[in-house]
Symmetry: C2
Subunit: 432 residues, 2 copies
């Protein structure tokens, strides 16, 4: 979708605010917006930043072309002067952000956008849509990866989320530690490895399970994964090994008591000499059931619904707030902190920097947030990367780099961060 404008993936009021600010003259005031979470989803010990790479892609396509301007004009969304301004819109400011895959905590300034009010306010809705979704999925994926303890996981939730969310979810899950996805568009668009073999329909289509297995092995080879729970699992496993031999790649179990069935199937496979045949389990898994299967002879997990719905937290409630702005409109005017006083929704004014404090063993002990750039100091790791410089995107990276960053950041977290039980935030956020 690389030639489409992303400019209307936004809220009506961003444009009417622009119109009002052009009217008052404040549109040109230098401003800083920050994205952060006031809290983590209930019981979560850490969050994972997802969406950085997608946001940068969409920012590149945030352009008001004739089609977009005609719509805004026909509907009377904004006035002529605003339409003219929009027709020349290019974000020309700077953006800093946490690296994608990085852990975050309440108050972590995971994105900072600096530019004129006009150019920065327009990005609010899009930035939040991308980060709130992708971070929810990356956070859930990370917990599941920890629960799986190294056993590979397949993301297969496309059918349980909107078709484009499915692509973003597959990407975020990969960053959060999943090995592959069922989603082909995620393979094409983001180079996420894809996998899959057959569903129950394939067995039901044929005159018998034997016919179905013969067709699948004949077409995909004995290394394929056969789904063995359409009728009777024991008979299916026996037929599978008879037809594919001990080179059978894997069997998949999608129903029943997965742990007990896996144990029975393992014994049967071993007794048939198929000791190298793997067992993959699927069917309403989440981090808790994955962890419960740790003692079962399971070689891989397929996870769908719980992953793509953020395992109980389909959004992570990130907000994008004006934290500072100049009073005058010159590029050198000093920034002044601003914050509203709404009941129950405090904000901290002023641009922020962040680093993670590590102890002598390299274990994270605190999230530190500063109202100035603290530079690099021994025992701290700066968390903000430059993503956009004078309007030029400089923060592109592959999902593989983000996945590697995620792995490193999780390794650095204290042990209690990785427990599946509900708990407190694993690191305190210290505001300097």
């Amino acid at each position: 979708m690389n030639d489409h404008s992303s400019a209307l993936l936004t809220d009506h009021y961003e444009l009417t605010m622009l119109q009002g600010a052009l009217h008052s003259g404040a549109a040109a005031r230098r401003s800083v917006f920050e994205m952060f979470a006031r809290r983590l989803p209930e019981g979560r010990r850490y969050g994972v930043v997802g969406g950085t790479g997608r946001f940068l892609e969409l920012l590149e396509r945030f352009r008001f072309r004739t089609e977009e301007l005609d719509f805004l004009s026909d509907r009377g969304v904004v006035d002529e002067r605003t339409l003219e301004w929009l027709s020349e819109y290019r974000f020309s400011g700077d953006v800093w952000g946490y690296g994608e895959g990085e852990a975050y905590f309440p108050g972590s300034p995971i994105l900072a956008v600096e530019g004129t009010f006009a150019e920065a306010v327009l990005l609010e809705t899009l930035a939040l849509s991308v980060y709130n979704h992708d971070s929810a999925i990356a956070s859930a994926a990370s917990r599941m990866s920890v629960a799986a303890g190294g056993r590979p996981m397949i993301e297969m939730g496309s059918r349980r989320t909107q078709e484009h969310s499915a692509v973003a979810a597959a990407r975020a899950a990969y960053i959060g530690g999943f090995a592959t996805t069922s989603n082909l568009e995620a393979g094409r668009a983001y180079d996420v490895p894809t996998s899959g073999t057959a569903a129950h329909a394939f067995t039901l289509l044929h005159d018998s399970e034997r016919h179905a297995f013969e067709a699948q092995i004949g077409s995909l080879g004995p290394g394929t994964t056969l789904l063995v729970d359409t009728y009777d699992v024991e008979r299916a496993v026996s037929t599978a090994v008879e037809l594919a031999g001990p080179e059978l790649g894997a069997v998949r179990i999608d129903s029943g008591d997965l742990g007990r069935t896996a144990a029975r199937v393992r014994r049967q496979l071993d007794s048939l000499g198929a000791t190298g045949t793997r067992i993959v389990v699927t069917g309403d898994l989440d981090e808790h059931s994955i962890q419960a299967l740790a003692v079962a002879p399971v070689d891989g997990y397929g996870v769908g619904t719980s992953l793509v719905t953020g395992s109980g937290a389909p959004t992570v409630s990130l907000v994008y707030k004006l934290v500072a702005r100049a009073r005058g409109t010159g590029p050198e005017e000093p920034l002044e902190p601003v914050a509203k006083r709404s009941v129950g929704k405090p904000s901290r004014g002023g641009r922020k920097w962040a680093s993670r404090r590590l102890d002598d063993h390299g274990t994270a002990v605190a999230e530190e947030v500063f109202p100035y750039d603290p530079g690099t100091a021994v025992g701290t790791r700066p968390l903000l990367r430059k993503l956009v410089s004078d309007g030029e995107i400089v923060g592109h990276e592959s999902v593989h780099e983000a996945r590697e960053r995620h792995r490193a950041t999780v390794d650095e977290l204290p042990e209690q961060a990785l427990r599946m039980s509900r708990g407190e935030t694993a690191l305190p956020t210290v505001f300097h």
Copy 2:
């Protein structure tokens, strides 16, 4: 996005099943797949079908062009023969479905796809992605509309869901009874009315709340909606009426105890002569808090997070199952029912038809499902519409038609269906 192929918005295994079925020869067997829910989300009394119109749009663009085939070939997803078959793919079968906006119940056959196995299986993932998402949102929207009892609602959840889900959610919410959306792309793509004025950032940008209000009124006119809770609500309301006069369109309250604040603001507005100024409340509303505000002087609601996350049910667990197939490959071969025997996931084999039974007062009393076409009978309303005929899409309609259907179907439901408390399914599903 109308020129993009939707063909890779699907699961890897749909294509490997196709390859296996081409290998065995069963790919050409006439087949029927049905989409249904085994149950409603916990405590829900009815579901609402969403996604029909979007599915038909995406079906029109389900084409394997050179770009898609190259990806499948490079990654070795399927073999040469399958790639050739895909290059000529056009769905040539028939599709029936519940009208969009219609209520549904467990077992309701909300979509039936008939064609060869090959052409029908390929649509599984895409159909489920669209319907599972859009029906979740339409169902939540419908409950909120009932709770709001005629007061207009604004959908404003774009920032709390993926950017393309946001568009689909705005569309589904409109069908489910919302009056407008904040999402501009939903306005352009689906003709959903859009609305919005300003956020807290607009007030913070200016040197004072007074300056901000002056700019907004000067630019958008006195009929605008002013956000009054950035600092002190009472002072803001006083400033708002002073500047806009009694023609002030509305004030918006986004924090605190919305009911009490609305009552206080109503008295203040009335005392200032602004008796026609409306009060709009926003901020973490769901159907329960909307209902609780029934006694407050509130003129409209803005709903975000709870709506776009399906109010606790972000997916409605629809499945797409092979229910019948022929043994031979001719177009006239008789269909035979099929069903798997997996533990805890029973399916009913065979193509189904459905109608809603009404009592003498026109109130719905049962969902009736037949293994044959029962025709039209007094006291029943057939529920399936022809959506695709011999590959040609015949079921296009506007969101306005779907919205009207939804209104009519809700009016027909028994009173207990419309309660907000958790309950049983409002209508029994009777399988004939």
